[in-house]
């Protein structure tokens, strides 16, 4: 295949998968949040929770729909653009994806309808079950697809046949391959953090307008609790993931660190510009010993450089180095927000903390940026292979002419920006509506028929008095 066709196919996959991951990263977290809200509603009977549930359900429906349609593209793109990869890895990866479809996709899709439309038909408790099942399905889907991705990073449990196909030998080893547990935990936590920042930002937006907005208070507080506990765990998980990568994909670590030479002790390069042509990192600002300390947990441990690997096996260090720093930098900002929230809570000033609220509002999309940066780090870091060390990207591509790929790429770019741009606009608009106005009776009024909103309640939404009906 000529290299143009390979580059086009790579760019198309990168584009469609990057767009796609935004939606699951959000819907995994949001599905769980919806389950918590509905559970709180059933437990406490407070209407504010069902109001918040309905507020986020509409947003969830749009995000989930975009996730579904952008996900189908990926299922087929393995074959359309990476047919050699599909032929060779199908026996190993196909069944794992098959399990994702059978256990997770059907589960989510089967109960989503009830979750969205069925409250009046099945009753509160069965509806809560449906919400739980959808939330479970989204996480289960992550389990399988991250297993697939991890196997491409750290392939084990297979043999090769004469056609050059990977043949499964040990399914347990394949599914629970060495990098999988780390990647799964890191991604699930990332999904929860991403969602928490979105929810926190929406809460902050409404609190900045009216600090007494009860729905916004609950959102803001819940999100910040999650951020407080999950951010440090995520940093710890990320560190373990990095050590795992050092063990199995040292060239990727070298690229992430911007190290071209083997060094012991190795300094940590905070900033710089890894120049692939020159084989060195330019304009670097270093902290002595720190890379050794982080990666080997000793003062003078050896950290590999790219030059200890064949030149043709180098990933693009410039991209990996930068994207890794973007992810880690956002992680530290998240930690800062978490600590700030503790301070404001201690002062009993959380709902009127304008500074914190503005910070959270600005950080609203930060989780998405971090998720994308993290995926760019690990995927570009896997290059130039699709199956690490075994199958080169250039040897994985379909025999499709470059003009065909160029056409489809152009169409995807136009359609995705137009269609998903509108979807994001609808989501933002829904977020801009106050979670306290409009639907539902005020707190303290016992719920009558599940989910049905009495019109009278609209009339006394500000007063909060029992309408007595």
């Amino acid at each position: 295949m000529d290299s143009l066709a390979v580059d086009l196919a790579r760019f198309q996959f990168a584009f469609t998968v990057s767009f796609h991951i935004i939606f699951p990263a959000f819907s995994i977290g949001l599905a769980s949040y919806l389950a918590v809200l509905e559970g709180m509603w059933l437990w406490t009977g407070k209407d504010v929770y069902i109001r918040l549930f309905k507020f986020w359900l509409k947003i969830f429906a749009v995000a989930f729909g975009m996730g579904v349609v952008s996900g189908i593209v990926l299922t087929y793109q393995f074959g359309t653009n990476w047919s050699v990869f599909s032929d060779k890895t199908g026996p190993v990866l196909g069944p794992v994806i098959g399990y994702e479809v059978l256990t997770a996709f059907f589960l989510e899709a089967g109960f989503l309808g009830i979750m969205l439309f069925g409250l009046n038909r099945v009753g509160k408790h069965l509806h809560f079950m449906a919400t739980l099942i959808v939330a479970f399905g989204t996480a289960l889907s992550a389990f399988w697809i991250l297993s697939v991705n991890s196997w491409m990073q750290t392939p084990v449990g297979f043999s090769m046949n004469e056609a050059g196909q990977f043949i499964p030998e040990d399914w347990w080893e394949i599914i629970f391959n060495p990098s999988f547990p780390y990647r799964l935990v890191h991604m699930l936590l990332a999904a929860y953090l991403t969602t928490a920042f979105v929810i926190g930002a929406v809460g902050a937006y409404h609190l900045l307008k009216d600090y007494a907005n009860r729905g916004a208070q609950i959102m803001f507080s819940m999100a910040l609790w999650l951020i407080l506990f999950v951010t440090p765990i995520q940093m710890f998980a990320g560190d373990l993931h990095g050590l795992n990568t050092l063990e199995h994909q040292p060239a990727k670590i070298a690229a992430m660190e911007g190290h071209f030479e083997n060094q012991a002790p190795a300094p940590l390069i905070l900033f710089g510009w890894p120049d692939m042509e020159k084989g060195e990192t330019l304009y670097k600002i270093e902290v002595p010993y720190l890379s050794s300390i982080i990666l080997t947990h000793t003062l003078d441990g050896e950290v590999p450089g790219l030059k200890s690997f064949p030149r043709e096996d180098w990933p693009n260090a410039t991209i990996v180095f930068i994207s890794f720093r973007v992810m880690v930098g956002i992680g530290f900002l998240m930690l800062l927000v978490a600590l700030w929230s503790v301070y404001e809570r201690y002062r009993d000033n959380l709902y009127d903390a304008k500074g914190l609220q503005r910070a959270v509002l600005i950080m609203g999309p930060s989780g998405f940026v971090a998720v994308l940066a993290g995926w760019i780090t690990t995927e570009v870091g896997r290059q130039p292979f699709t199956v690490y060390g075994l199958l080169r990207t250039a040897d994985s591509v379909s025999p499709v002419d470059a003009p065909a790929v160029a056409t489809s790429l152009a169409v995807f770019i136009i359609v995705y920006f137009a269609v998903f741009g509108v979807g994001v606009f609808y989501i933002l608009r829904a977020m801009g509506q106050s979670p306290d106005v409009g639907e539902g009776p005020e707190e303290g009024i016992p719920t009558r028929t599940a989910g049905i909103t009495p019109v009278q309640a609209l009339q006394n939404q500000s007063g909060g008095e029992n309408d007595g009906s």
């Binding site: 359900l57 509409k58 429906a61 749009v62 729909g65 975009m66 579904v68 349609v69 952008s70 996900g71 189908i72 593209v73 299922t75 087929y76 393995f78 074959g79 047919s83 050699v84 599909s86 032929d87 199908g90 026996p91 190993v92 196909g94 069944p95 994806i97 098959g98 399990y99 479809v101 059978l102 256990t103 996709f105 059907f106 589960l107 899709a109 089967g110 109960f111 989503l112 309808g113 009830i114 969205l116 439309f117 069925g118 038909r121 099945v122 046949n161 196909q165 043949i167 499964p168 379909s398 025999p399 499709v400 065909a404 056409t407 489809s408 169409v411 359609v415 269609v419 509108v422 609808y426």
Partner: protein, 336 residues
């Protein structure tokens, strides 16, 4: 006991694709029929008949694609590049119609026409591309070793266009008979009128494609008229004619609600089985049999263990979901 795993999986994939075709068939059919009414209320009703279930219906397409990747990776890696353009067109079509389910109700009233059009055009494009893909597959694709070796417009031919249009009319009939079943009163009357031309056009295409097929594939001709296949080929036209009669009655008889839809499903089943017989035992027609294209038994066995448990479970909760949303759809329902 030694089981013929490729054969079992060939059957299961065929079943998954059939379930997809009929389930998403009526969803897409509804989109295709959107321009037959200008009434906003009626359009909302049409969409609400499938809004709770369309996502589950489309999941069978993922099972078809993912299943092919898993159990017939060679077929998947040959067919997908060969059908590159139709597949991409289908995916784009599915995006436009899929997002319309939510966007339509989020857009302001004056902008709603955009998503109505998106729903319609996306459904037509998806149906057309699926039909074209089928036609191109039947005609055969160029393969060298283990890879597609043709150009990127090989799929375009008069025959594949005919199968594309045939599928549009088939989905339109499924959609209109579904709506006869799910609606009542004036809208139901409307779709009884719409269903008639759909049925006639579909029958015309069935005859056309059946007559055309032997010219495309002389093997099929031989196959049709030698034992043991002749026992299957002779009843097929008879069954099609009988079902066409029942469908027609179901459309016109004002006390029939479900009959036209159910018999249209049977019509799809009969033609699908006929098609399956002529392609069997190949998974890439004229090129790779299911045994040649199959992944090793260790892959097939591993997934089969799960499928045996999970597919009945999926069918059960899918049926539950349809049960929850059973009966006629009326205005004012839905969460929007």
């Amino acid at each position: 006991m030694v089981l013929d795993y490729p054969l079992i999986w060939g059957f299961l994939i065929a079943v998954a694709i059939f379930i997809y075709v009929v389930l998403d068939g009526f969803d897409l059919g509804i989109g295709i029929l959107y321009p037959t009414t200008k009434d906003d209320e009626e359009r909302t009703l049409m969409m609400n008949t499938v809004a709770p279930v369309w996502d589950g219906n489309e999941t069978w397409l993922i099972l078809g694609g993912g299943g092919l990747f898993a159990v017939f990776p060679l077929a998947y890696s040959v067919i997908m590049p060969a059908l590159y353009m139709p597949i991409i067109m289908m995916l784009i079509g599915l995006i436009f119609r899929g997002v319309a389910f939510e966007y339509r109700f989020k857009a302001s009233a004056e902008r709603r026409y955009i998503w109505d059009f998106s729903f319609f055009a996306g459904s037509v494009l998806a149906a057309l591309s699926q039909g074209i893909a089928l036609g191109a597959l039947i005609e055969g694709i160029t393969v060298e070793d283990r890879a597609y070796a043709g150009g990127w417009f090989d799929w375009l031919s008069p025959f594949s266009i005919a199968t594309g249009l045939a599928l549009i009319s088939g989905y339109a009939l499924l959609g209109s008979t579904w709506l006869i079943m799910k609606l009542e009163g004036k809208p139901q009357q409307h779709f009884r009128r719409v269903a008639r031309p759909c049925a006639l056009i579909l029958l015309g295409f069935i005859v056309l494609v059946s007559v055309w097929m032997p010219f495309i594939d002389p093997d099929a001709m031989k196959l049709y008229f030698t034992a043991p296949f002749i026992y299957y080929t002779v009843p097929v036209p008879v069954l099609v004619a009988a079902l066409a009669f029942v469908i027609w009655q179901g459309i016109n008889n004002p006390i029939s609600h479900a009959r036209a839809f159910v018999s249209t499903l049977l019509l799809f089943l009969v033609t699908y089985i006929g098609l399956g017989i002529s392609i069997y035992p190949d998974v890439v027609p004229h090129r790779f049999s299911i045994w040649e294209a199959a992944a090793p038994d260790s892959s097939l066995k591993f997934l089969l263990v799960g499928a045996v448990v999970l597919i009945p479970l999926i069918l059960a909760y899918t049926a539950y979901s349809y049960w929850v949303f059973r009966g006629k759809v009326r205005s004012g329902e839905g969460y929007h």
